[in-house]
Symmetry: C2
């Protein structure tokens, strides 16, 4: 299988960490994609032009990260990162919360990347910041358990916090000590987190 | 259960259509939410401040629409809207494609809603339009089957196209006759589509 991704992508990182934890990295070749390049085959693979995309051996393309991670979980026997039964719903909701933090963070980055400075709009940036801030406050008060076997909600949260470190200089850390401790524990338990540290 | 949503929300519509098809509407009270109102309890229910949110009878909140729809499917016995086995992955990928079209459409609407006119940036709007356009072209060439029993990919696509009708005057229709025919068939087979037509 081929994973189209980029080293800076927090959603690509979810897939890579999932593959590492599931012992599937030797089945996956990572080929860098440039979502800004119209000539990159990415836009044929996923018409949205978004990464990550998983190209399966039969040529079919799977996306987005939620779909890829669940597929990898099934390949590895199932119910490892995605629990069945009543435990499934809070895990999937944590993934949605963490992915939503990442989406709101990316929109703040894109505000500067896609516009000339005179078109920055602080109200919009603040609206997205508000989503991230409220999520951080909620998570600090409702921090996930420090698990030996992470689930997809943990992985998504680690990638969301890692993206805040990468693009926003870790300013979240000073006021969220419980989450800092949680992330340190996640990184210790899962070497793939450090191995997938983002870079441009 | 309580569904926090709004009549204009395409992602809320996914949940309502799913609940209708699964025969669960009599178990769900819909309470309107205003994602722009800081005083709305929505931001406590989902720190992202996004709709839809499903409040379960034990007080727990589930989001986003993908999680809610899969939970409803499980409540109704499972494997109705979300197939198991190999059929699952193309269905979930179609859902991701359709949801991505909707996200890109919403960002175009928000460009005007959140900014003064001098801060509109046509390059950004065009970048989002490109995602929708490529997805429409791909879907026109790879139109889903007209199924008596829709899956979540069908529902998500119907809501994405319905949102284009609602906010972009249906300009997609003239150049995508296969998708128009598909949507007419979906609407005929699923009266919930018409019953949940969006309005402000």
């Amino acid at each position: 299988m081929i994973l189209r991704s980029a080293p800076a992508s927090p959603f690509g990182r979810k897939c890579k960490i999932s593959a590492h934890i599931l012992g599937l990295m030797d089945k996956i070749e990572i080929i860098r994609a440039n979502s800004m390049d119209p000539e990159d085959s990415l836009r044929q693979e996923n018409p949205l032009g978004k990464i990550p995309v998983l190209l399966m051996d039969d040529g079919a393309a799977l996306y987005d990260s939620r779909v890829i991670c669940e597929y990898l979980d099934t390949l590895a026997g199932g119910n490892k990162l995605f629990p069945a039964g009543d435990a499934r719903w809070p895990v999937l909701t944590l993934q949605a919360l963490a992915d939503g933090m990442t989406d709101a963070s990316i929109l703040q980055v894109y505000e500067k990347r896609f516009r000339p400075e005179e078109k920055y709009h602080q109200d919009w940036v603040g609206y997205q910041q508000g989503k991230v801030q409220r999520a951080l406050i909620w998570l600090e008060a409702n921090a996930p358990a420090k698990r030996a076997q992470p689930h997809i909600g943990d992985i998504a949260l680690a990638c969301a916090l890692g993206y805040l470190d990468f693009r926003f200089e870790g300013v979240w850390r000073s006021s969220h000590p419980g989450l800092v401790s949680w992330l340190e524990s996640f990184a210790e338990t899962n070497p793939a987190f450090g191995e997938t540290a983002p870079h441009d």
